[in-house]
């Protein structure tokens, strides 16, 4: 019997090929930055660079956003990044926020987990949003920057010549080929990266044998948004099944295949339909449903050793493949883009030495290893790689019913923001040790509500609202205006052109609101950061703390920025 599929509740726009007018002469046009691959990582890289005023060319082989079931969960950290890129409203309007999930063993609930969230947060810990919507939301933001982002659809890289001063690309379009030179090339062209292959680079790590079938279905259900995991469920004994609610009545179902099942046969609709039907029956979902899409997944835990190769920078799946369990794929790619964008912008604009881009590789390779460590543990539980993992999992699941102390082993270890503890950019570590609370150098800001003073208004907001495409100096000051309120970092030696904003934060409402930029109306911010008048947190454009001092003067803060940007050696080579 023919299976009737439903379309995704999403209108895909197909874009015409973009072929630039070729200039006169034999010299190909030269661009400061070319990004290969318009997926979440390519879009975020382009938007990040544009936010710093750097023009980019963004190349995509396809003629539309992606199709099928790919990334589905966007973390709070990614939402913070997306907000700085100007696409948050669309993510929040469409996405389904959630805070936790349930795991079942056979017919018993063995774990109800919640992700960290509290009254200080601005954003949910996670939203569910299909990748086509993620991409469309970012594309809308890209299309609002035609002045800086040159989007070229149906353009495929067919050859790369890496050079000391950049790369020459041969690009194929439906109406012919052309050459393009780039000072810098960002490879965001996915797991099967052409750029990676062209440079002869290989991902290294572990590929797992266990396979999952992924099915998107259309089902109208009032069930809340949470992550559901069924281990050895009555509907599919011996298997593991994951269920995620997506926007617009799409439900994403992942189920594990037995080792003896043929993967090609397993994704035949005739084999998928009864499994989904019995799952829905077990869940008590009785409404009519239709399949939308079916695919198969095998976990990989792989990374390149380095993400910078001369003038070519790798990001997202082109740089690393992390298992889906724990939702670190798209989220780590968005983090890559956020880390890369400001560094590349500063280098292109002559504000930093090229060494800053080595820190992109160092920080994000370290992050990939941490993501792989967690992702590997999740995979070992979700797709046991040996009889031992399988046996032990049965033991844990059986014991978890009566023994809460083992339930943490079932926790899906969802992605969380990563601290660049060993980054060479981190400064003033001795001074940092004297600060008893708050994010350490390399960490991301702890969110907290506060009142923000603008030129013509005062509003309640959050700490991350103060960030922008620049360094941010959080200068904790006194409510009473005095000479120590001033911190003239901008005039620092060697960093005169570096974009930076000093934000004066008072512990309470000052008599003259205009004397500060924000104040701690909840009374939670100062203790959370162990702050007193004089305390300074220096924050990078990507929201990671660079240094912190219980008390600092302008020259000290300027020196930390100069250190991070390699101001000394950029002057030497200028």
């Amino acid at each position: 019997m023919q299976t009737e599929f439903a379309p995704y509740p999403f209108t895909t726009i197909h874009h015409a090929a973009t072929v630039p007018r070729t200039g006169a002469g034999d010299v190909p046009p030269r661009h400061p930055v070319v990004i290969v691959g318009a997926g979440p990582v390519g879009y975020c890289s382009a938007l990040g660079l544009a936010s710093h005023g750097v023009p980019v060319v963004l190349i995509e082989a396809d003629d539309s956003v992606c199709f099928g079931s790919r990334a589905i969960c966007i973390s709070r950290r990614s939402l913070e990044i997306v907000e700085r890129l100007g696409a948050l409203q669309s993510f929040l309007r469409i996405g389904l926020p959630w805070t936790g999930g349930r795991s079942f063993y056979r017919d018993t609930e063995v774990l109800h987990f919640t992700m960290p969230t509290d009254e200080n947060q601005k954003l949910p810990p996670m939203i569910n949003l299909a990748q086509y919507s993620i991409e469309q939301s970012l594309l809308d933001a890209v299309e609002a920057r035609p002045d800086l982002i040159d989007m070229r659809w149906q353009t495929r890289v067919v050859a790369i010549e890496a050079r000391d001063d950049g790369a020459r690309l041969r690009l194929a379009t439906p109406s012919g080929e052309y050459l393009l030179d780039a000072d810098w090339l960002v490879a965001a062209d996915g797991g099967r990266s052409f750029v990676r292959d062209a440079l002869g680079l290989k991902l290294q790590g572990t590929s797992y044998e266990g396979r999952y079938v992924i099915v998107d279905i259309l089902l109208d259900s009032a069930r809340p948004t949470e992550r559901l995991a069924y281990f050895d469920p009555p509907c599919n004994p011996g298997s593991t099944v994951l269920v995620h609610k997506q926007p617009s009545n799409v439900w994403r179902i992942d189920y594990q295949l037995r080792d003896d099942e043929d993967p090609d046969a397993a994704i035949e609709p005739a084999n998928v339909m009864p499994r989904v039907e019995s799952l829905l029956a077990m869940m008590g979902e009785t409404a009519a449903w239709k399949p939308i899409w079916m695919g198969i997944y095998k976990a990989n835990a792989l990374t390149l050793e380095r993400y910078r190769h001369g003038r070519v920078l790798f990001a997202g799946d082109a740089a690393h493949l992390v298992p889906i369990f724990g939702v670190r794929g798209a989220n780590s790619g968005i983090d890559d883009a956020d880390n890369l964008a400001w560094k590349l912008a500063f280098v292109v604009q002559g504000l930093a030495s090229e060494r800053l881009l080595d820190s992109y590789s160092d920080e994000r390779v370290a992050a990939a290893h941490e993501n792989l460590r967690h992702g590997t543990k999740s995979t070992e539980f979700m797709a046991p790689p040996s009889f031992a993992f399988d046996l032990m999992r049965r033991a844990v699941l059986g014991l978890a019913v009566a023994h809460p102390e083992v339930r943490s082993l079932i926790n899906p270890r969802q992605t969380s923001a990563i601290t660049y503890a060993d980054s060479s950019l981190n400064a003033a570590l001795d001074a940092s040790a004297a600060v008893a609370a708050g994010p350490v150098p390399g960490g991301v800001l702890f969110e907290c509500p506060l009142t923000i003073v603008n030129a013509d208004s005062v509003r309640e907001g959050h700490l991350t609202d103060l960030l922008g495409p620049r360094f941010t100096v959080l200068h904790f000051v006194s409510t009473v205006e005095n000479a120590r309120q001033s911190l003239d970092v901008a005039g620092g030696d060697g960093i005169e052109r570096v974009p930076l904003r000093i934000v004066r934060i008072a512990p309470g409402a000052p008599r003259d609101a205009a004397s500060v930029d924000a104040w701690d109306h909840s009374g939670r911010l100062f203790p959370m950061y162990d702050a007193a008048p004089g305390t300074v947190y220096l924050v990078r454009p990507d929201g990671h703390v660079l240094a912190r001092w219980k008390d600092a003067d302008a020259a000290t803060v300027a020196a930390a920025i100069g250190h991070a940007l390699g101001a000394d050696d950029s002057r030497k080579t200028a």
Binding site: F387, M392, G398
Partner: protein, 68 residues
């Protein structure tokens, strides 16, 4: 006895799984038996040891031919 913190339990669990994988399925039973004996020997008193045994067996059905 202080219970293991979740992260430590997680690491110990993973180490156990890898060790058992290396030893192979044939030796898995004797490996787990030795682990059980060591855990019992380090239990915090006789009651604790008895509870470990009872908890481990609690929801497993006895074999059909088990001696009464």
């Amino acid at each position: 006895m202080t219970p293991l913190a979740p992260a430590d339990l997680d690491d110990a669990y993973t180490r156990l799984c890898h060790t058992m994988t290396q030893l192979g399925e044939v030796q898995a039973t004797i490996f787990l038996a030795r682990l059980a004996v060591l855990a019992l020997a380090r239990a915090d008193g006789a009651d604790a040891a008895r509870r470990l045994i009872d908890d481990a067996a609690s929801d497993l059905a006895p074999a059909d031919n088990a001696a009464q």
